[in-house]
C-alpha cells in the first residue's frame, strides 16, 4: 500500500529540507495520500477516536500531575484539592477519570470490529498482536491510575490484584513484596504506581506508532474483507475523505463523552472510592473498574487461585494467537454465515461475564460464570479452528469496487450481505 511519497516540494527551502529529512513527505504519504478502502463503515473511525482519547488522557493527566501528590497520607486530600480549589480542576479530573472509561469503550468496539471483520488475518497478524500489546498496556495503566486517588477501592483493588502474583509457586510471595515495596500495599506502592502510570502512556504512544506503521504498510481491512486490487478503483485518499469522516466521528464521540463528564461523572466509578483508603476496614464487595469485569469473572470462576490467575491471563493471551486459531481463509463475517452466529454468541458471553464480574460470587452466578468461562475458551480454541473446515462461505465479490456497486445496484436497506452487521452509515 505504501510507496515512495508522491510529495514534491516546490519551494526551494522545502526541497532542501526534504532531501535531508523527508518528514513532510512521511506525513504526506501516511496522512494525506494514504489510500483508504472506499467501503469502510463507521466502525473504522474508532482508530482515530482512540488516538484522540490517548491525547486527551495524556494532556489532562499531565496537568493533573502538576497538582497531585503521590504520598499516601495526602493523596486523597490532594485529589479533593484538585476537585475544589484548582481552577477547572473538577473538569480535568472528570475528563481524565471518565476518559479512561471512554478509552475502553472505544477499544472494545475497535477489538470487536476486528473480530467481526477478521482484521487479524494475514497479512495483519503483527498489526493485531501490537494491538493486543496496547490493550495490555492500557489495562496496566488504567489499573495503576485507579490506585492514585487512594480511596477504599483504590487500596483494596490494588491489594487484590497485586496479590494475584502470590499464586505463582515458590517465588510468588517474594514477587508480591517486591511489587509492594513492603509487606502490604502502602506508600511505596502508591509512589511507584504513580511513576509507572506516568510512564506507560508514553509506551502506549510508542506501540501505537508501530501499530499505525504496520497498518499503513499492509493497508486497512474493510467490511468485505477483500484485498485492494486497484488503488484507483477501490480506494480514496486519506485526506480529505477519511480525515473528515474521522473528525465527524470524534465530534459525535465527544457528545457521548460529555454526557458522562458533565452529567453523570460518577456513574462509572464506585462510591467507596470517595472514602479514604483504610487498611483496617475491607469494603463489603471489592469490585474492579467495569472494563476489567469480564476477566475478574473468569478469575473468580476457577476454584483454584493459581488456576484462576492463569485462566485470567490466558483469556487475554489467547487473543494474540487468534490469527492462527481462526482457520478460515475468508476474513469478513459478512461472508461467513456460521461464524456470524458464533460471533454474536461470543459477544453475549463476553458482556455476560462482565455482568457476572460485578455480582457477588455466590449461588447461580458462580455456575453461570463457569459455563461462560468455559465457552470463552471453547470459542477461541475449538469453535474458531473447526469453523474454517465446516463452514461454507458465501461467494466473495471480485473487488471492493464491485462490492460497492452491487450494494448500490440492489438499493435500499435490503442489500446488506451482512444483514446483522451493526452498521450505521
Amino acid at each position: 500500500m505504501e510507496g515512495h511519497s508522491t510529495y514534491q516540494p516546490k519551494n526551494k527551502v522545502a526541497q532542501w529540507f526534504e532531501s535531508r529529512l523527508p518528514i513532510v513527505g512521511l506525513v504526506h504519504s501516511s496522512a494525506i495520500a494514504y489510500p483508504v478502502p472506499k467501503n469502510l463503515n463507521y466502525f473504522w473511525t474508532f482508530g482515530a477516536i482512540l488516538s484522540f482519547m490517548l491525547v486527551v488522557q495524556i494532556v489532562s493527566g499531565i496537568v493533573l500531575a502538576m497538582h497531585y501528590v503521590a504520598y499516601a497520607p495526602v493523596a486523597f486530600a490532594r485529589v479533593e484539592h484538585i476537585m475544589r480549589d484548582v481552577s477547572f480542576g473538577w473538569l480535568l479530573r472528570y475528563i481524565h477519570a471518565n476518559g479512561a472509561s471512554m478509552f475502553f469503550i472505544a477499544v472494545y468496539i475497535h477489538i470487536f470490529r476486528g473480530l467481526y471483520y477478521g482484521s487479524y488475518k494475514a497479512p495483519r497478524e503483527v498489526l493485531w498482536i501490537l494491538g493486543v500489546i496496547i490493550y495490555l498496556l492500557m489495562m496496566a495503566t488504567a489499573f495503576m491510575g485507579y490506585v492514585l486517588p487512594w480511596g477504599q477501592m483504590s487500596y483494596w483493588g490494588a491489594t487484590v490484584i497485586t496479590n494475584l502474583f502470590s499464586a505463582i509457586p515458590v517465588v510468588g510471595e517474594v514477587i508480591v513484596q517486591w511489587l509492594w515495596g513492603g509487606y502490604s500495599v502502602g506508600d511505596p506502592t502508591l509512589n511507584r504506581f504513580f511513576a509507572l502510570h506516568y510512564l506507560l502512556p508514553f509506551m502506549i504512544a510508542g506501540v501505537v506508532g508501530l501499530h499505525i506503521w504496520a497498518l499503513h504498510h499492509v493497508g486497512q481491512n474493510n467490511p468485505d474483507g477483500i484485498d485492494v486490487k486497484s488503488v484507483s478503483k477501490d480506494t480514496v485518499p486519506f485526506t480529505p475523505y477519511a480525515t473528515l469522516k474521522d473528525v465527524f466521528a470524534i465530534a459525535v464521540f465527544m457528545i457521548f463523552f460529555s454526557w458522562f463528564i458533565f452529567y453523570t461523572p460518577n456513574y462509572l466509578g464506585h462510591s467507596d472510592n470517595y472514602i479514604p483508603a483504610n487498611p483496617m476496614s475491607t469494603p463489603a464487595h471489592i469490585v474492579p473498574e467495569w472494563y476489567f469485569l469480564p476477566f475478574y469473572a473468569i478469575l473468580r470462576s476457577i476454584p483454584d487461585k493459581l488456576g484462576g490467575v492463569l485462566a485470567m491471563f490466558a483469556a487475554i493471551a489467547v487473543l494474540a494467537f487468534l490469527p492462527w486459531l481462526d482457520t478460515s481463509k475468508v476474513r469478513s463475517a459478512r461472508y461467513r454465515p456460521l461464524f456470524r452466529i458464533f460471533f454474536w454468541i461470543f459477544v453475549v458471553v463476553a458482556v455476560g461475564l462482565g455482568y457476572l464480574g460485578s455480582q457477588p460470587s455466590e449461588g447461580w452466578y458462580v455456575i453461570v460464570s463457569r459455563i461462560f468461562t468455559v465457552y470463552y475458551f471453547v470459542h477461541f480454541l475449538i469453535i474458531l479452528p473447526l469453523l474454517g473446515f465446516i463452514e461454507k462461505p458465501k461467494p466473495l465479490p471480485a473487488s471492493i469496487a464491485d462490492a460497492v456497486l452491487a450494494k448500490h445496484a440492489a438499493g435500499g436497506a435490503t442489500v446488506m450481505a451482512g444483514a446483522s452487521a451493526p452498521e450505521t452509515k
Partner: protein, 279 residues
C-alpha cells in the same frame, strides 16, 4: 442502511423516554431509599440557595458536633453556586469558632477567632478521641459523604440511571437514613449501643437519631420537621461534596450544544466531500 439507522435511532429515543418512567417506580420499598426530587438533579439542575442555607444551619447545629468536614473551608460558604452567604456573614460564621494556630514567635500555640481561609474545625482532635466520645464508633468525615454513600440499584435500573442522569444515590441515602429511625421489628434484636434504622446497611447504626421536629429553628417559614431537616442537610452535604455542580451542568450544556452544531456541520461537509464517491 438508512432504514436501519432510523429504526436504531427510534429505539434509542424510545429508551430515553421509557427509561425515566420505569426507573421512577423503583425505590421506596425493600429497604431501598426513596428517590426524592432534588433541585440539583437533571441536566439543568442547580442548588437551591435557601435550602443550602437551611441545610447549613442543621449541619452547624446538629451534625458538626460529632462529624468533621475537613475539606470544607469557611470561604466556600460565600462562593457562588453554594449557600452564597455574604462576605460579612462568612467572616461572622468563621469568627464564631476558636482555631488553634501557631507557633508564635515565642514558640507557643495560641487560639484565635476563625477566618474565612480556615477549614471547618473538627469536633475531635483525632480519631481516638472521636471514638472514645461515640461509644467506639467513628463519625465519618462529611466532606464527600454524599458521594461516598450509595445503595444497590440492580438490573436494569443501573443502566437506565445513566440515561436519566440519576446521580443522587448518596443524597437519597442520607435523607433515608436520617428519616429511617424507628422501633425495630420484633424479630430483630438490636445490640446495645446501636439503634434500629430501616435504611442503614445491616439495620443497626451507632448514631442515635440526631433529628427531631422543631430541633432547628428556621426563619424562612419552612416546616421544622425531621423530613425537611433531612432533605435540607442532605442537599447541603451534596454541595459540600460537589461544590462546582452548578458550573459543571451549566458549562456542560454549552459544550453539548456546541458539539451538536459542530457535528452537524462536519456531517454535511463530509457528505459533500463524499458525494461523488460510491461507498
Amino acid at each position: 442502511m438508512t432504514i436501519r439507522s432510523i429504526l436504531f435511532g427510534a429505539a434509542a429515543a424510545a429508551l430515553l423516554f421509557v427509561a425515566p418512567a420505569t426507573a421512577s417506580e423503583g425505590g421506596g420499598h425493600d429497604g431501598r431509599p426513596p428517590r426524592l426530587s432534588w433541585s440539583f438533579a437533571g441536566p439543568f439542575g442547580t442548588y437551591d440557595t435557601a435550602q443550602l442555607q437551611r441545610g447549613f444551619k442543621v449541619f452547624k447545629e446538629v451534625c458538626s458536633s460529632c462529624h468533621s468536614a475537613n475539606f470544607l473551608y469557611f470561604r466556600n460558604l460565600g462562593q457562588p453556586g453554594g449557600p452564597s452567604f455574604s462576605e460579612a456573614q462568612v467572616k461572622q460564621i468563621a469568627s464564631g469558632y476558636q482555631i488553634t494556630d501557631g507557633p508564635n514567635d515565642s514558640g507557643d500555640m495560641f487560639e484565635r477567632p476563625g477566618r474565612p481561609s480556615d477549614h471547618w474545625p473538627a469536633p475531635f482532635p483525632n480519631e481516638q478521641a472521636a471514638r472514645a466520645s461515640n461509644g467506639g464508633a467513628l463519625p465519618p468525615d462529611m466532606s464527600v459523604l454524599a458521594k461516598a454513600r450509595s445503595y444497590h440499584v440492580g438490573f436494569p435500573g443501573f443502566i437506565t440511571d445513566a440515561f436519566i442522569q440519576y446521580q443522587e444515590h448518596g443524597v437519597d441515602y442520607i435523607h433515608a437514613v436520617l428519616t429511617g429511625y424507628g422501633e425495630a421489628p420484633e424479630d430483630v434484636h438490636v445490640q446495645s449501643g446501636l439503634h434500629y434504622n430501616k435504611y442503614f446497611p445491616g439495620n443497626q447504626i451507632a448514631m442515635p437519631n440526631p433529628l427531631s421536629d422543631g430541633l432547628v429553628e428556621y426563619t424562612d417559614g419552612s416546616p421544622q420537621t425531621v423530613d425537611q431537616y433531612a432533605s435540607d442537610v442532605a442537599a447541603f452535604l451534596m454541595w459540600v461534596a460537589e461544590p462546582h455542580l452548578d458550573a459543571r451542568k451549566r458549562i456542560g450544556f454549552q459544550v453539548v450544544i456546541f458539539l451538536i452544531v459542530l457535528s452537524g456541520l462536519l456531517y454535511f461537509t463530509k457528505k459533500k466531500v463524499w458525494k461523488n464517491v460510491a461507498h
